[in-house]
């Protein structure tokens, strides 16, 4: 029998707003263990009377950041757990978690590339862990992030992505804003489509390894689009999330 993945009580050591609806929470973990970029933690909340609710959240931090994990959480309207994080949780609070979990939607430098990352909204979170891991390891795998957001204010990790793209060898960040664009916007201004995927693929080199995370429609369209553009399905890994209605 494998060791059970035990619940542990983490302590919130930082809360950082990323956008109007998204915050990052750093949890110090007494039984931290190294994760692989792309994995998630389960969170369990318990009320005074014993009622519990669980959700899974992707790890945003690189595994090289030991002893703690950063979870980036989007507020889901009418949600049960994400509004608690956004409205109640503050530095010093205790949060029960277990992880890391997941063994397929993961990347580390040894898996190679080129790396094609495609994100919709907060789907960027597990991909950010990969980008951060790549940077922390000084890895030069040619990497492109194609990232779709509604507006410029919805872009998560905006400054960090800009700074990584300018300083990190071989990392290209391509953004599309689907709802509105600020004056002078030079990125794409529509939903991810085959032409856009082709543009990004051309800059990457042959047979990239693709990771796609976002709402179901974006993931379906992107995964099918990449297969139509010639990627073997086995090179395309997906993770979906989002409002379930």
């Amino acid at each position: 029998m494998p060791e059970p993945l035990a619940w542990q009580i983490g302590t919130v050591t930082a809360v950082r707003p990323e956008s109007a609806e998204v915050k990052s929470f750093t949890l110090a973990l007494p039984a931290w263990r190294p994760h692989r970029a792309g994995q998630h933690y389960d969170v369990r909340l318990t009320a005074e009377d014993g009622y519990q609710a669980q959700r899974s959240y992707s790890i945003a931090s690189a595994p090289s950041r030991t002893g703690e994990v950063e979870l980036t959480i989007e507020r889901i309207p009418d949600g049960e757990v994400s509004p608690y994080f956004h409205d109640v949780v503050r530095v010093g609070d205790k949060v029960e978690v277990r992880g890391p979990i997941g063994g397929y939607f993961v990347w580390e430098p040894a898996l190679g590339g080129p790396l094609m990352l495609v994100a919709g909204g907060s789907g960027v979170v597990p991909l950010m862990a990969m980008i951060r891991e790549r940077a922390a390891a000084g890895d030069a795998t040619p990497t492109a992030l194609l990232y779709s957001s509604r507006t410029i204010d919805d872009v998560i990790y905006r400054d960090e992505l800009a700074s990584l793209a300018s300083s990190n060898h071989g990392l290209q960040v391509v953004q599309t804003l689907t709802r509105s664009q600020p004056p002078g916007w030079t990125g794409y201004a529509r939903r991810i489509d085959s032409e856009m995927l082709g543009d990004v693929l051309r800059g990457l080199g042959p047979q990239p390894l693709a990771y796609i995370c976002g709402p179901t429609l974006l993931v379906e369209a992107t995964a099918n689009g990449l297969v139509e553009l010639g990627l073997p399905p086995a090179r395309v890994r997906t993770e979906r999330f989002g409002p379930t209605t």
């Binding site: 909340l45 519990q52 399905p233 997906t238």
Partner: protein, 207 residues
């Protein structure tokens, strides 16, 4: 054990607290009215003229059905509750398909057969004890809510084993391979529980 840990300021939504519906939600799950899609890779598109379903391994004679032959098998509606390991539960989902008992009736099962590898177009696999598939516990569905099952939800046909977490309900299923010794499938090899009973919260290896 969590002992006396509570989350400061957490009360919970409890939309269905105390109701008959709440009693049907396994521990750690929440109710959804939507039908989330989860899969590890691109959705395989399987033309019906290339679709097949086979039973092989520890059987007297392997059997293979074409789409047309499969449609002619005895089938019925199934109304079941389903739970995904990613925490959502959906009640009263309505499917139409063929019971695994009726499929197994087409072969003579070797008494040594104790496990099944369900395998899919696209390469997905999941393992199940034969005892979790018989006695009207499982079926191969090709209609959902009266309409052809969408490819994103596993169409043309999907195995449905509603009493286990939904990754056991192999999408795009193309056959069952009967074996003597258990062989972990895709998710079972990647840290997920070998059996996956939601009422025992068997999510991950070791649970």
């Amino acid at each position: 054990m969590t002992d006396r840990f509570t989350s400061r300021g957490f009360f919970g939504r409890r939309r269905d607290a105390g109701s008959e519906r709440a009693d049907r939600i396994p521990p750690g799950q929440y109710l959804t009215d939507g039908f989330p899609v989860l899969s590890a890779g691109p959705t395989p598109q399987v033309p019906l003229d290339r679709w097949e379903f086979t039973i092989d391994g520890l059987v007297s004679e392997p059997v293979r059905w074409s789409w047309e032959q499969f449609q002619a098998l005895p089938s019925r509606d199934w109304t079941v509750d389903i739970s995904c390991v990613t925490k959502w539960t959906k009640l009263d989902t309505v499917w139409h398909g063929v019971s695994v008992d009726d499929l197994l009736a087409a072969v003579e099962v070797d008494p040594k057969a104790r496990f099944v590898t369900a395998h899919s177009f696209g390469g997905y696999t999941t393992n199940l004890p034969l005892t979790d598939l018989v006695n009207n516990q499982a079926f191969v569905a090709y209609l959902y809510d009266g309409a052809p099952l969408e490819s994103a939800h596993g169409g043309p046909a999907r195995l449905v084993v509603p009493h286990l977490y939904f990754w056991k309900s192999a999408k795009w299923v193309r056959g069952m391979h009967l074996i003597e010794n258990d062989q972990p499938g895709f998710w079972e090899s990647l840290g997920y529980h070998n059996r996956g009973d939601p009422w025992r919260e068997e999510r991950y290896s070791g649970d």
